[in-house]
Amino acid sequence: MVFLVKQCHFEGPLDLLLHLIRKNHLDICTIAISQVTNEFLNTLDEMRNFNLEIAGDYLVMAATLIHIKSRLLLPVLEKDPEVEDDEDDDRGEELVQRLKEYRLFQETALMLDRYPLLEREVFTSGWAGEELREEEGLEVDLFHFLKVCREVLTEQPIESIHQVEMENLSVAQRIEEIKRILASASSSELGLLLEGNPSPLQVVVTLLAILELVKVRVIRLIQHREFGPIEIWPVT
């Protein structure tokens, strides 16, 4: 038993159970499970003696095994067809199914391991054109992309910040635009020139253009009352 624990690394309780069934040349069935229950428990004791931490999975399995075994040891009572008592039988049967399924995948794993593997039995060309090596950057799949996401995205909420896009808007251009507007209409209002949610830069440029036009006496600004609309009139 000491040998068993030392030599084998088990992939969990199902693996250990399968190992014991196999070692005793049994077929997977509830009887076999009950037959290896003691060995299973002894192995857990051995693990404990080796100061190996026994995962909860093993203990849950131990409880299941004891339960199944105790069911089988009970004298077979006269079956009362009226009483449905399948739940306990199901536990044994369910474990048998799980063991069979897991065994199938263990076999599949072994089958896969027999393939000639890249970098183990077969190798691709070591030669890579010189140009290839210089190319920088990563070819990523979703998993490796998510790894970057994990590193970059901290939980801090994003603060709302302001950003100004550089716009190709010069004062000279704006002057021409204002002149055009005044040429088609006899007058305008400052508010109208600042319609459409302009950026701060646009506002500044518009104001500068108007001040410039006032300075060179192309327009006049008139405000009839306090806080009233500021009218723009061409100087005639």
Binding site: E107, L112, F143
Partner: protein, 183 residues
């Protein structure tokens, strides 16, 4: 371009490519119809796979790639002094489950193996053998996993259909003689 010359160009393309080249890619790249590419590939198949030699033309992950022949693995490994690549038993079991039950959640894998799969699964993701493929329409929308094209490359498979079905595998291991009788 005649078939011989086309074969020579394709030979150099496959040789220089980092990944297996698909027939369609070659056809598109060279602006040559698929039948001509196939004819040229047949020439290469003859040259590398019918005649003896150290190199084979393998059809993997739906593409073509030159590879050393497995019978010379010993010498190549010896020459490269590299640590032998191996997959742990846990990794192989998880690959087996993912290959046959994909798309599958981690919880479902753990249900089959009866044990936590976290570490080995992450290694397989790291190695690009397993990939994330969406979320399951179930409470909590758990992540789904599947095999990648690099899985096919590693195992030298053209596609997943090349894997034997589970019933055949069962016959490989007659009842009682399980995969791991203790040595």
């Amino acid at each position: 371009m005649d078939t011989a010359e086309l074969a020579a160009v394709i030979e150099s393309l496959i040789f220089a490519a980092e990944k297996p080249l698909r027939l369609g890619q070659i056809s598109e790249l060279m602006e040559v119809d698929r039948n001509s590419v196939q004819a040229a590939l047949n020439v290469l198949d003859e040259k590398y796979n019918r005649l003896p030699g150290g190199i084979q033309l393998a059809e993997v992950a739906e593409g073509f790639q030159f590879r050393t022949r497995p019978e010379y693995a010993f010498w190549v490994r010896r020459a490269q002094k590299r640590r032998m690549f191996r997959l742990s038993r846990a990794a192989l079991e998880i690959l087996a489950i993912v290959a046959y039950r994909q798309p599958i959640t981690r919880g479902e894998m753990e249900q089959i193996r009866g044990v936590d799969c976290d570490g080995a699964l992450r290694t397989l993701l790291e190695k690009k053998m397993v990939r994330l493929c969406g979320k399951k329409e179930a409470p909590g929308r758990p992540l789904l996993y599947g095999t990648s094209s690099f899985f096919l490359e590693t195992f030298g498979l053209r596609d997943l259909k090349e894997l034997p079905d589970l019933r055949q595998i069962q016959q490989l291991f007659p009842e009682g003689k399980g995969p791991r009788v203790d040595e």
